[in-house]
Assembly symmetry: C2
Homo-oligomer: 154 residues x 2
Amino acid sequence: MKNIYFTEVQVKSILLLQEKGVAIILLEGPGEKWNLPILAKPSEVFSISLALEGQEPPRPQAHDLIVSIIQRLNAKVLHVLIDILDEPLCHGIIALDIGGRELDFDSRPSDAISLALRVHAPIFVSPDVVAKGAVHLNHEEGSLDLGERTKLRN
Amino acid sequence: MKNIYFTEVQVKSILLLQEKGVAIILLEGPGEKWNLPILAKPSEVFSISLALEGQEPPRPQAHDLIVSIIQRLNAKVLHVLIDILDEPLCHGIIALDIGGRELDFDSRPSDAISLALRVHAPIFVSPDVVAKGAVHLNHEEGSLDLGERTKLRN
């Protein structure tokens, strides 16, 4: 499902906007030219935070369980893709290699990102996602302003 | 990993104790002789609630993703087991059949239960769990009292 128009992004950080009770998954484009914020629920991003911090949770989270199953079944995460499902709602696609064959699985973006981070697989976004969601940030701007400029949703 | 001393339980309900900010996974023993409450975070039981209500979520949750992967990889959930990890903390074990071979995966009890409900696999508890966590409830008692009598944790 991957094609040359997809752009690889990095997970820059997770922002918790306490007063609004929401979280933002902050992705970053190549050369730090733009950021791509995706609105989510705090419970949906907790597992991403653990992976970002490189923390080994005391017991496996759901995404650690997925990694175990994939590995024990001799499959491999090739990459994940974030695309727009029904604006502003995004979805994630997880591409697995199973015996040399690529199989794609639908998921929420947060699940796809959480999984990719754990196995160091690349995260791609579609041109549509960049067009609709990318923002250029000034260092003077706070996270509250980013909240208002976030157009896409997990 | 299953043996004759394990007891099959049903998921009776999920209780949200709003004022305490916690949830209880309420399991039920054979013949409704006892209940087995397990304390959890509301975010950990959301996915169980969806499965109990038979709701098809608008997009796959992490556990629906696990089910998809297991099925597409020609594996099958045989059963899940709840045991005590380090009292009062419990853990879950998910037994998969992969090409006729049984493989066990560690998880949180909530993940194991959520997965079992989705594929209609039996849920077992160890004798230790019954000894430490089972309670007999009177119908006059409220859920708050149950909160106090819950000894085990997700």
